[in-house]
Amino acid sequence: MQKGMDMRELEYPFDADLILSKKKSLKRRLLEESGSFTEKRIAILGGGTTSDIKQILELFLLNYGIAAKFYESEYNAFYRDAVFDNEELIKFKPDIIYVCTSNRNIDAYPSLNDDSDTVDMLLKRETDKYMAVWRSLKERYNCPIIQNNFEMPYFRLLGNRDAYDIHGRVNFLSRLNANLYEYAREHEDFHICDINYISADYGLKEWSDPFYWHMYKYALNVKAVPYLSFNVANIIKSIFGKNKKGFVLDLDNTLWGGVIGDDGAENIVIGPEESEGQAYTEFQKYLKAHEDLGIILNIDSKNDEENALLGLDHPDSVLKKDDFIVIKANWEPKDKNFKEIADSLSLLPESLVFVDDNPAERHIVRSSFGNVSAPEIETDDISHFVTAIDRAGYFEATSISEDDKKRKKMYEDNAKRAQEAASFTDYHDYLISLSMKADIKAFEPVYMARIAQLTNKSNQFNLTTKRMTQDEIEKVSADDTYITLYGKLTDKFGDNGVVSVVIGHIIGDALDIELWLMSCRVLKRDMEYAMLDTLVKRAKEKGIDKFLGHYYPTAKNAMVKDFYATLGFKKIKEESDMSTSWELSVKDHKDKNTVICVEE
């Protein structure tokens, strides 16, 4: 396990008061009970007091397996800290900068006598202030930025007119937000923390209780802080590739009403005729919409498979058989099926969200794996599933790569390959029959997002588990002292997209391989051999004599413990923490790939 537990206290829907009053003991428990954490440095540049926001963000991040070190600006020093030289922040080297501002930081609102040019000028001045902050941060620190948008004002001088009159604060803040969004659309690694939405969700009146501003300079109700911090934690965990990857769904009373085995397919409750059926239809539509994001759907149901398929064949069922990658409908325990689903997708159980109306089943799956999320619903009413899943932020979409959209097809293609493999007695013959083609080249701009995503998502086939942001990827790609390779694999069943990444640092006559990873969906396809062959070629061109490889053990990457041995490297060092170093003489290498046609 990368971390030993998910603390239920920190899973949505959480008890915000409890988190606030017990934050110290929660932190102690998280640190005691969990295994290894990814370390990240997070700078919070605030427009108000941020102490609790930071402390509770720390808890949610620990729960996601991220141990954060913080830089916290002085009260309302966000502008100064961002725009001017700041030695302390430079030394801190932030991985993420969170600009935590609010409508309390607006310098000047329009007054009723201003003409429209003056209002435009005020809007531009306010926008420019933040643009200066982001540009300076980007230039100085080159790391992802998270920026609060603006929550609506807690009073409306013009009443409803405030929304559309250019002098209204509601109108002014809405226009300012639109400017923020335009910048966000044009800049990767810039993320909006939508406090406008979460304050509305929480209740704006309570959220903006001015007591907390006047007493402590908190721009929000302290009781709402866990909701803000949770939202920020979700953005951060997504940036570092810790989103969930799919659903495992129950059928009876989850995707439709009734028990299909007892009631018969014609009597299940789904479709527009009555209220309950409408709720199931709406939930199915919500799940189906995830497919476009590359979130995969699977079934884990106690049913005869025949009945399960009859239900999906129901004319009112939005989800059809083809929407699912793995369907397990049988009488085995749900946790056993769950594990098999994860295994056949080459995913870890914790990457999948378990959705079941039955609290007992949720409990079984959760307790079998410890860190699988299984959203709770109020009053067993499935119409609350959408809210419960949505607010939990499992799939926070900080980046949407082209590969995400195609992911479902890739999992389907894999299922077909598995079938085909079974028909061959000789594995090498099977590999040849796949007619594989690979592009193995230095990093290219179109793939930077995918490459960064892979460095953050790959846990199992990952020698050093070095996590990198897109900015860092772009930097090494432009640096002559690095050799970078991405590998993209296609076969007769389809395009797997970019599946392997290697980064080597040239030090004298040696290439120090800082990162070598591969997506588990192309295991045992000899892709690693093709990568090595090309790496050797590139190295020879640069006059490199030897490769240095490293294996740093984590809770998840045992499968590559002896990876370098299989490539012909010699072990040169073994540390007490089981990490190893390996060496390969470049001139002794003979091409190993015989099954993939490579374009370089």
Partner: protein, 79 residues
């Protein structure tokens, strides 16, 4: 609620907020007596007490408490 009972519950809040099982507050306890009790933690204490007793303090009250005794008087008057 008796003053004794109030102190029992109040003490639980202090233990939670400062994560210190050894805390035992009385009428004379002030912020100087508890290591982590600074102005930033004060807000957490106030929020936790409000929740525990289902009451609200106003700004003037929060600023005026000189010790836990005054706080207890104020809570008792609200219950």
């Amino acid at each position: 609620m008796t003053r004794e009972k109030l102190y029992e519950e109040l003490n639980e809040v202090f233990k939670d907020v400062f994560d210190d099982e050894s805390i035992c507050v009385d009428d004379h306890t002030t912020a100087d007596d508890i290591e982590d009790w600074d102005s930033l933690e004060h807000i957490n204490l106030i929020v936790a007490i409000e929740k525990k007793f289902s009451i609200k303090f106003n700004m003037g009250e929060v600023n005026k408490f000189k010790n836990v005794g005054e706080m207890a008087d104020n809570i008792l008057a609200k219950l």
